[in-house]
């Protein structure tokens, strides 16, 4: 299942870090961050609940870049 979320982040490198952090989150099959459009596309693994996975994704992203936001 694929979903798109609006995000907020200031710099391009931070967006790349968020992408890497999101990809490493369990339950996420693949994730891409589009810095220019300020969007995160997440492809979830089968049978995962996007809401709870996204909470974890947000927590992981905050860890690498404190100044970011994901609108779940």
């Amino acid at each position: 299942m694929k979903k798109t979320y609006a995000i907020e982040v200031d710099c391009a490198n931070c967006a790349n870090k968020m992408e890497a952090a999101a990809q490493k989150t369990p339950g996420v099959k693949d994730a891409t961050v589009n810095f220019m459009a300020l969007k995160m596309h997440v492809d979830f693994e089968e049978g995962q609940d996007p809401k709870s996975v996204m909470q974890q994704v947000r927590a992981n992203c905050k860890k690498v870049e404190d100044d970011c936001e994901i609108y779940i």
Binding site: C11, T32, E65
Partner: protein, 671 residues
């Protein structure tokens, strides 16, 4: 001398920051609150720093005279205050970075570099704190500029694609009512007034007007529309009131699909973008490790092996310079920004590119394969000639149109269109349709036969063969040959020019695939100057042919397939890059193609390729320039030639130049 230059520099920054701040307060600049705040801090910190710079030495001496050592502390506190004004948020972020164990966080690296510089100044008792403050100051200026440029181009591009309709007009009890386009059901009647955008795809049921399709196709000539015509959402109604019956929901309408496509285009990342993000992931740690080695190894070697003084402070200073250069942001920002601008500029010209990766592939295209019908030709059949006729053209055409009036075959349609007059079907009786041959009927009592060679053979009527290419309709009246009508597909007006333009952009080979007869195909190819032709292909053969071509070409030369997108979907998918033409409103094409040309003009293919080349050229310039300058700075820093001033200048300067260069990709009008 150096002091003077630095002071002048601060003066320039003050003027620019003040000017920008004034401009930002006027509201139209689109600066965010956060950006204004940072700008204010930059202004304050620079003014403060300039005052400190200009403060004469005797002030500190006077303090020293009052109390020994007071001047030293006074200087430190005054400068430290300025450092905190400009850098407090970086320090906070750095602290959070440590907490989250992100040692390669750029705020953390900046904090170490500047705090380190202050510590060295304290240790050396030089009192030169300006450097640390300047590094922080320029770093903030760079960040500010980057944020502003990115925000600005984001807005620019959404303005370019400003086709999103906000409402739809529905007539209820004789009054116009504005409703959310999402709430309009299929088959409803909506009204579009002059000056409004058409919100939903549909068919005009009342009214005559011209449409401005510039936002969709880049074409500035207005298009006339009247009752019965299909209408695409996203166009602007210019002259008359239109009543439209909707045929799609808003979410399925052209305008929504295009917006969705453009907004998500840059999510498909190109190889260059992936390269840069991988590079950034390695670059920062590598430079940090190099900095650590630079701080430790040379002094230790000097001390232990060479017996010289260690001169720790020199090497630590050089290592700190490394940390300033380690920030990869200039590199990382300019690449997606270039692609974003390139895709935005292309969509303004009516070329929709579905992803940065496709823009990259498009720029490497060397072979272009075309479908004939609908791509190079109009796909509508027209009467091209009437030969050997026994009566006036008009009359013969009229008879043919009458005989064929009951048929819905495209050929009959084109005959009727060419005749152009009302057809009185009551004049036609005894219609006999002979499948694959033609039609025999009685018109005003005369027996008329219209059909191909086989029909004439069947009726035993001698006929004259035609030399023209196309579909031939022989006519016989009362058993006597009356001439033939040639019907053929018409080339698009700019097809030939388009081929010349493609060759001029460096396309090595043009190939045409068609299901048509060989002589038709050969003639079209000759007329347009196409290198290779494969004719009489079934749709499945086209896929096979493209696959064979993909195998035989060199790896680096990419193959593009251009089709009208209606029946070419499998081929569009199979090619390295699929270009759908004239796709305004065709869902299948938007789905299957990688690049969508909104209008029918084949010239846009060459244009799309030129846009992609320009964009990629900018991307490579930025990569080489940014990495090159960084490496040179690292080298100079290690040798002690470059100080921290130069490092931060290089960093911010590269970013500004790269960002400005990236924005150049937006300007594609005159390509």
């Amino acid at each position: 001398m150096q002091e003077l230059i630095i002071n002048i520099l601060f003066g320039v920054i003050i003027l620019m920051a003040a000017g920008l701040l004034l401009w930002g307060c006027r509201g139209k600049s689109g600066m965010m609150k956060k950006q204004k705040k940072t700008l204010g801090r930059i202004l304050l910190a620079t003014v403060y720093l300039l005052v400190l710079q200009l403060l004469p030495e005797w002030v500190y001496d006077a303090a020293d005279a009052l109390m020994p050592g007071a001047g030293y502390w006074m200087r430190l506190l005054l400068y430290l205050a300025d450092y905190l004004i400009i850098g407090y948020d970086i320090l906070i972020k750095a602290f959070k970075g440590i907490k989250n164990r992100q040692i390669f966080d750029e705020s953390f690296l900046m904090a170490i570099a500047t705090v380190g510089a202050i510590a060295l100044a304290l240790y050396g008792k030089s009192g030169d704190y300006t450097e640390a403050i300047a590094v922080m100051l320029f770093y903030q200026i760079g960040e500010w500029f980057q944020g502003y440029a990115v925000g600005k181009s984001r807005r620019n591009i959404s303005e370019l694609m400003d086709i999103r309709p906000d409402y739809a007009n529905i007539e209820r009890d004789g009054k116009l009512e504005r409703v959310d386009p999402d709430a309009v059901a299929i088959g409803s009647t909506i009204l579009v007034q002059p000056g409004e955008k058409v919100p939903i795809d549909g068919v005009v049921i009342e009214g005559v007007s011209s449409l401005n399709t510039a936002a969709l196709t880049g074409e500035s000539l207005p298009r006339d529309i009247q009752a019965g015509d299909a209408i695409t959402s996203g166009c602007i109604n210019m002259t008359g009131l239109l009543k439209i019956r909707t045929t799609k929901e808003f979410g399925e309408s052209t305008v929504s699909k295009i917006l969705d496509l453009v907004e998500n285009a840059s999510s498909r990342k190109s190889k260059s973008e992936n390269f840069i993000s991988k590079f950034a992931r390695v670059y920062t740690p590598a430079v940090c490790i190099a900095a650590l080695a630079l701080a430790l190894l040379p002094p230790l070697v000097r001390m232990l092996a060479l017996g010289m003084p260690a001169s720790w402070n020199i090497w630590i200073y050089r290592a700190l310079t490394f940390l300033v250069i380690s920030c990869p942001c200039a590199l990382v920002i300019s690449i997606p920004l270039s692609f974003f601008a390139g895709i935005g500029g292309a969509s303004k010209e009516g070329v929709l590119v579905k992803g940065s990766n496709y823009l990259e592939t498009l720029s490497q295209t060397k072979i272009v394969v075309f479908d004939k019908t609908g791509t190079l030709t109009q796909g509508v059949f027209e009467v091209n000639g009437i030969h050997h006729n026994a009566m006036e053209n008009e009359k013969l055409l009229g008879l043919a149109a009458l005989v064929e009036s009951s048929s819905s075959h495209p050929i009959s349609k084109s005959l009727q269109r060419a005749y152009g007059k009302e057809i009185d079907r009551s004049r036609v009786t005894d219609i006999q349709e002979l499948g694959g041959k033609g039609i025999v009927a009685k018109v005003d009592g005369l027996s008329v036969a219209a059909g191909n060679d086989k029909l004439m053979d069947l009726l035993g009527i001698p006929y004259i063969r035609c030399h023209s290419v196309g579909t031939i309709i022989h006519m016989a009246i009362d058993g006597k040959y009356a001439g033939h009508i040639v019907i053929s597909d018409v080339l698009k007006p700019r097809a030939k020019e388009a081929m010349t333009a493609l060759k001029a952009t460096g396309i090595q080979k043009t190939i045409m695939l068609t299901g048509d007869a060989d002589n038709v195909a050969q003639q079209v190819a000759k007329e347009l100057g196409i290198d290779q032709v494969y004719s009489q292909l079934l749709p499945a053969d086209k896929v096979e042919k493209v696959e064979a071509l993909l195998h035989s070409k060199p790896e680096k030369a990419k193959l593009a397939f251009v089709g009208d997108g209606i029946n070419d979907a499998p081929v569009l998918r199979r090619a390295d890059i699929g270009i759908a033409m004239g796709a305004m409103g065709s869902d299948a094409a938007i789905e299957a193609a990688d690049v969508v040309l909104m209008d029918d003009d084949p010239m846009k293919i060459a244009k799309a390729i030129r846009i992609s080349r320009k964009c990629l050229r900018i991307v490579y310039q930025n990569i080489v320039f940014a990495i090159g300058v960084k490496l040179v700075c690292l080298l100079l820093g290690a040798l002690g030639i470059a100080n921290m001033w130069l490092a931060i200048f290089a960093d911010v300067g590269v970013m500004v130049i790269a960002v400005l260069n990236a924005i150049r990709a937006l300007f594609v009008k005159n390509l």
